[in-house]
Subunit: 406 residues, 2 copies
Amino acid sequence: MPRRIKSKHQLVATLDAELLRRVRAHGGLSRMQLARELKLAPSTAGIYVDRLVREGFLLETETTGRATAGRPATSLVPNPDGGRFIGVDFGVPNLMATVVDFSQRPLRQSHTTLRPADSAARILAKIELAIEEMTARDPRPVLGIGVGVPGTIDPVTNVAVHYEFTRGWNNVPLGARLTERFGVPVFLENNIRSMALAELWFGAGRGLRNFVCIGIRSGIAAGVVVNGQLLHGAQHRAGEIGHWVCPVPEELAAHPPARRQRGWRWQTAAKLEQVASLSAIVATAQRGLKRNPKTSLAGVKGPLAIDDVLAAARDGDAFAASLVRAAGRAHGWVAHQINELFNPEKIIFAGPLADFGDLFITTVRETARELGGAGCDAVIVNSILGQYNGAVGAAALALHQWKPRR
Amino acid sequence: MPRRIKSKHQLVATLDAELLRRVRAHGGLSRMQLARELKLAPSTAGIYVDRLVREGFLLETETTGRATAGRPATSLVPNPDGGRFIGVDFGVPNLMATVVDFSQRPLRQSHTTLRPADSAARILAKIELAIEEMTARDPRPVLGIGVGVPGTIDPVTNVAVHYEFTRGWNNVPLGARLTERFGVPVFLENNIRSMALAELWFGAGRGLRNFVCIGIRSGIAAGVVVNGQLLHGAQHRAGEIGHWVCPVPEELAAHPPARRQRGWRWQTAAKLEQVASLSAIVATAQRGLKRNPKTSLAGVKGPLAIDDVLAAARDGDAFAASLVRAAGRAHGWVAHQINELFNPEKIIFAGPLADFGDLFITTVRETARELGGAGCDAVIVNSILGQYNGAVGAAALALHQWKPRR
DNA sequence: TGACAGTAATTTCGATTTCGAAATAATACC
DNA sequence: GGTATTATTTCGAAATCGAAATTACTGTCA
């Protein structure tokens, strides 16, 4: 007789949640399929499902056309009215929020900006405002809140431990604060990791057990999924590839090189973030304006923004395009390193460069293939989830942890 | 992040096996401690322990001096006579074998060499011979065999899939072959990963949940432990950092550089393995003999071996020492990258360079600290397990999977 | 068209496992 | 000797299993 390690308590505690997760992931499963997936006796699966149906969290749906013999399965889907979850994701310039229903469909979204000068208190206030906005004029209960936070967090105490680019952002008791304010469970996660969760549950990572999501915004970080689970590291600081010391594509080097080495340059001090993040690209563009008088970027009023560079590249501006391509080379190197180390099924790029289109990702692929010799096993793709990516992942974080109280 | 149900077949196969693992790890646990660790009711823990004692796999030991009030706990330890396990680890030049008893104490070890020209069949024969030698003149039953194999393996089918440096080493049904021959369960693992297992269970990784073990032999690879489990990757090919494209320390560059860049050099094509593996170091030493007439290495007869270089470095030869230091720099860069990506508790170096002493590891630490700016969170250490490292890990692999049949 | 075989999902219903709380055991400290 | 404290065992209750019904279909053949 096979013995289970999970005690009754632990099993009961998580079985409801796990069952709901599977149903959400597949969008409709029968009792038998659930029993097989969770390795439960059919009778046990039945007991749980029946209870969740009775409580209004699952709906039994009519079986759609089958052609197989045998009693048709009754499909179970999450009841959209089971409750709502809120997700917030913020980074240096943007704060995104979303509400999703119980079947994880987004109901509403909002977007505000944060200023680099904003204090921790100000950011907290803006988060609370965004959450209120999401719950306004909708009587259905909110069951949980997820927040994607830049920097390191402690998912046990729900404290935002540190973020290097916001003053005073140290040991902010974000979880406690929001729980107190809204009276529902709050879950924190690092924001690149919540992007990875979004990929895992809705995006290019659906159904995969091993993939890496690389988020390129003002910083660069990786969310790593191993065996279907997020990698956190000893101090929840895993994925900081922005600090990787990397080769520098010619075009992105701070000073023109003395001598070309097949288009790359090595500097001891070059961190990936200072080379191929959005802010680094903008800075390089700014520096290069004089040397590239023909570029359409010269006509931009005020300080350059990444959107200017991307728009110019899209319109065929050679200088802007060369910068995008150079960033693609740097990230191709990253993809190669990650592929060799993790051997993931996919490497997913997220952020404005990914939303931008083919020029970037094609260069990434080419570079990774070149460096890999035999080729790169991992499929390299752009995220297709768009900019609410992190917020949706954060909402799903709360949604996926939630379980009915027994 | 999904808290996954450890259902019966998933993470922890059976309570019996898990219980034995815990007892081995702690070297003596009471029923209560086991119940707490495994989150079982005390009564349940009691049932399992009693049965294992009855069957002769656990021994109840006298309680050693305590000072606490309350009924003293009866400590449980594995019965050394519960059975023996054999571990084999082979790489390009060496084949190591060991037998351990049921309490994972090594009983005997052996060492043979393989020649690069050896065919797959010849290697298989040598493995079988080594195993026989281990079981000879000892009537106690062998319960399992673990093998650390270079290259990729499939732990499900127990096939050695591929190894680039051995001719004909493709889809070798090593597991089936040995099971048939010896009639016991056989487990395969990649050999760097079995080194990591040895560290996890006996070495510098004891008690840690997140660490990385870097093995430097004729190739370079990493065994990664995340949440107490080995990382395998989608095709069981994770950890191939030997293929990483890396900066090249001056001293190890194939051609003297045109211009120094703070002691490093970047080449698009430089793979870590071609720069800082044992064979690369030997090759560089050989190449550098002419330019360094004063080195004691010039006096070595025949082709250089890595031991010559290490011995010379230990004796104060400046050229040899500079090569060791340069390898340390390269691996310091590796440690930095790994630290940022995984945020492990430790980074453990294994192989002759680690056995060699401080010169190497100190340079690694310094370089990692420099590159990390704020410093490197992970503790960087040498393995202290010596060269039977992988064999012991392989034996433990079998030992830890084993469970009494019910 | 309607019995009937075939098939697969679900339920039913004891059997088994595991739990949880209370009882018991074995010590230290007073 | 009594009390406090912790480990282990006891024992009824709850969870889960597994195999055997039962149900609800499809397809086939008279």
